[in-house]
């Protein structure tokens, strides 16, 4: 690790320590600490889990169990843009599988994976709550509705540039 990244890493851990100090003596500290850790580091690597384990005196195995239980937590870094394809009933009936397939083809990744350039992570999600616009996808906080597979190339292009 270069000196710069080491320093960045140190800063991240001291940030995490502040959160841990805040929750340490409260009941059920693990979830808020994990959420903060994921925000700070982008993912929950073994090193991060080990650190939390030591500070909260919870075995790594238990932390890892929680991290892998909730789909919101991730072990690997996610892309800069997180694409969520809604697989809720309404979107599904309106053809969201074809949308997912198209994005998958366009980025050459499967659902749950991150593109090699680190730009995109693709996920099939549960209902995103915009059934009136079905089928929809979300890219970070942007919503795209009433889609057909033909729209995908154009949308992705916006984020690539």
């Amino acid at each position: 690790m270069s000196a710069v990244t080491l320093k960045q890493n140190e800063e991240k851990f001291s940030k995490l320590q502040l959160v841990i100090d805040q929750w340490k003596d409260k009941e059920g500290p693990l979830m808020p600490v994990l959420q903060a850790a994921q925000d700070i580091f982008g993912c929950l690597s073994l090193d991060v889990q080990k650190y939390i384990s030591k500070e909260l005196d919870i075995p790594v195995s238990e932390i890892y169990g929680v991290v892998t239980f909730y789909s919101q937590f991730t072990l690997k870094p996610k892309g800069k843009y997180k694409i969520g394809v809604c697989m809720g009933t309404a979107c599904y009936v309106k053809g969201s599988q074809a949308i997912l397939d198209e994005i998958s083809k366009e980025l050459n990744i499967k659902s749950g994976e991150t593109s090699e350039d680190g730009l995109f992570t693709l996920d099939a999600t549960r209902c995103l709550g915009a059934c009136g616009l079905a089928p929809i996808i979300m890219i970070n906080d942007d919503v795209y509705g009433r889609l057909s597979p033909g729209d995908i190339k154009e949308i992705i292009k916006k984020y690539k540039d």
Partner: protein, 579 residues
């Protein structure tokens, strides 16, 4: 204590408030099936085998976690209960790897028992199965995820009883697995190899690494002198593998069986335990008199040793440098005994029968060797030993009592009590007292150090010196004790730590006790009683009075802690990381 009355299947029982329906039913002689339940260790109501009908309740209740109330009316055998239990069991079976014929736990499997008991005569549901690789990288523990039924008994024992927590439940729903983190092997996480997960497992998902083939090969090799030794705790448990009552002592039959298997010498690890006392007792007195690191902590338990290497490296200087007894035995066999008999040590093969899975790992440590030969070549658990006896067609119950071979088979009561928590301490005190005071110890049974309290303390007057001693068994108890020492709250001279709760009698290599049996008796107590009975029946009960030990020092080692003794019988430790 407030007593309440409940009616179970029409039988009225009076129980203390807070009693669960499962325990209350037991008192009424009603057997409720269980699977994930393990008394005091795993009480989570997950498997739904123990469902009962409670009058007035909306749904069926898991009796293992359901406290009864005064005047309650409970039914354990209604069509609704039977149907619910059976369908839960069938669903567990639907994705179970049902290779019962070749399973290490066949005929000793709680899932198999239940299938029979609940009348499962057909597999109605074929669930999707995962075909995961078996984790066989550890020299001690093998994990077969395809047989796991997710009862979480292993997680509970690893986490709560041992305070380690290297296995946990991962993912969710159908993807759920019980495994170490990040797809690691159990060999690559800070596991201490104690094997308590194995004895907690109701099925064949966790088991020891089977080394019996290596021993068959050695026995079949005419060029080898194959020597076997047995740990103290094996003789009070091996009988259980042949249907004998828990706590039966089978020392003589065990020796005969081993001789019939074809071992050239049958030696007693108890001899080496006596040797350990000579070395460790001397080391203790040297440390006290010469300002050495105190407290000194015993080093017989390889589970405890690995625990301290991972989790408490700051205490490594406190560990006695003595090798564990069976390693001492191996070293003596491959030096003194081999020389005496004109054997080439390269052709001597030492097999240890141990109540322990951690000893399998220990035997592979490169530092535990003598002139380039490993002290011990193979470690078998009590269970593997039984397996070999069965395979050889030996009628164990009909065997006459045999005697250990002379010299390294001679031992004392002090050696045998090594098998129970507090035993190493008591054995050491019997010798150290007499060495220091020069007087015979009046009452050699030190009851303050016996029993199954997690941490025990004792103060022993040795002339004008007072020794403060502590004993812990199970690594969670050890952790509590070490923390008190670290904080300065407690100070001791001498500490005994055994990795397994109860000590070696309930080690991870011992016969597996079913969850139902734990509701009736505690093997920690029953097997320890057999150990102390064995001690009482022996003519010599102090290590320093063992004539063969005296002879070994006279003829070979010189005196305890001599440089030759150091070369052969002492070792060192390494700091290990946590992940």
């Amino acid at each position: 204590m407030e007593m309440i009355k409940v009616r179970i299947d029409g039988v009225e029982v009076e129980v203390p408030a807070g009693t669960t329906a499962l325990e209350a039913a037991k008192l009424a002689n009603i057997d409720i099936p269980t699977l994930c339940y393990l008394k005091d260790i795993n009480e989570i109501g997950a498997c739904r085998m123990c469902l009962v009908e409670v009058e007035g309740a909306r749904s069926l209740q898991a009796s293992c976690v359901f406290p009864v109330g005064d005047g309650m009316n409970i039914k354990t055998n209604t069509p609704k209960v039977r149907a619910a239990r059976k369908i839960s069991l069938e669903l567990i079976l639907s994705n179970h790897d049902r290779k019962c014929l070749t399973c290490v736990r066949s005929q000793n499997c709680e899932l198999q028992d239940l299938s029979q008991k609940l009348g499962v005569d057909d597999i109605r549901f074929e669930g999707e199965r995962y075909d995961k690789p078996i984790d066989s990288f550890s020299p001690s523990i093998e994990r077969d995820p395809n047989k796991c039924i997710l009862c979480r008994r292993c997680i509970a024992v690893c986490n709560n009883v041992q305070g380690i927590g290297v296995i946990g439940a991962t993912e969710r729903g159908f993807e759920t697995m019980v495994e170490p983190v990040f797809n690691m092997s159990i060999n690559d996480v800070p596991c201490i190899n104690c094997g308590q997960c194995i004895v907690a497992c109701p099925v064949g998902a966790l088991r020891e690494k089977d080394d019996t083939e290596k021993v068959w090969d050695a026995l079949n090799n005419p060029d080898l002198h194959v020597v076997v030794q047995t740990a103290p705790a094996v003789r009070v448990a091996l009988g259980e593998e042949f249907g004998m009552e828990m706590g039966t002592r089978v020392t003589g039959k065990m020796v005969s069986a081993l001789r019939r298997l074809g071992f050239d010498r049958v030696f007693d690890t108890d001899f080496a335990a006596d040797l350990t006392i000579m070395e460790e007792g001397t080391e203790l007195l040297n440390r006290i008199n010469n300002g050495g690191t105190l407290p000194m902590i015993t080093s017989c338990s390889p589970g405890w040793i690995k625990y301290s290497e991972h989790y408490y490296p700051e205490f490594l200087d406190n560990l006695s440098t003595c090798k564990s007894p069976h390693e001492m035995m191996g070293a003596v066999v491959k030096s003194y005994y081999a020389e005496k008999n004109g054997w080439d040590p390269a052709n001597v093969y030492v097999v240890s029968i141990m109540p322990c899975t951690a000893k399998k790992f220990e035997a592979q440590r490169p530092e535990l060797s003598v002139n380039g030969h490993p002290d011990v070549d193979v470690v078998l658990t009590t269970r593997e030993c039984a397996k070999m006896i069965k395979e050889a067609g030996i009628d164990f119950l009909a065997l006459p009592d045999g005697d250990f071979d002379p010299a390294l088979g001679d031992s004392t009561g002090a050696g045998v009590i090594f098998g129970a928590t507090g035993g190493v301490m008591e054995a050491a005190l019997r010798t150290v007292y007499e060495v220091v005071t020069g007087e015979p110890m009046e009452n050699i049974e030190v009851h303050a150090v016996r029993g199954i309290d997690g941490v025990k303390e004792a103060e022993i007057e040795l002339g004008d010196m007072t020794i403060r001693a502590a004993i812990a068994h199970g690594t969670a108890n050890a952790k509590a004790l070490l923390e008190q020492i670290k904080s300065g709250e407690k100070e001791y001279h001498f500490i005994e730590i055994m990795g397994c709760p109860g000590g070696c009698v309930t080690g991870g290599g011992q016969p597996i006790v079913k969850a139902k049996t734990y509701m009736e008796k505690d093997p920690k107590v029953v097997r320890a009683k057999a150990i102390y009975d064995e001690d009482r029946d022996l003519p010599i009960r102090k290590s320093h009075e063992n004539p063969s030990i005296k002879k070994l020092y006279e003829e070979y080692l010189g005196e305890p802690n001599s440089s030759k003794a150091h070369d052969l019988l002492h070792t060192h430790y390494v700091e290990r990381s946590v992940y």
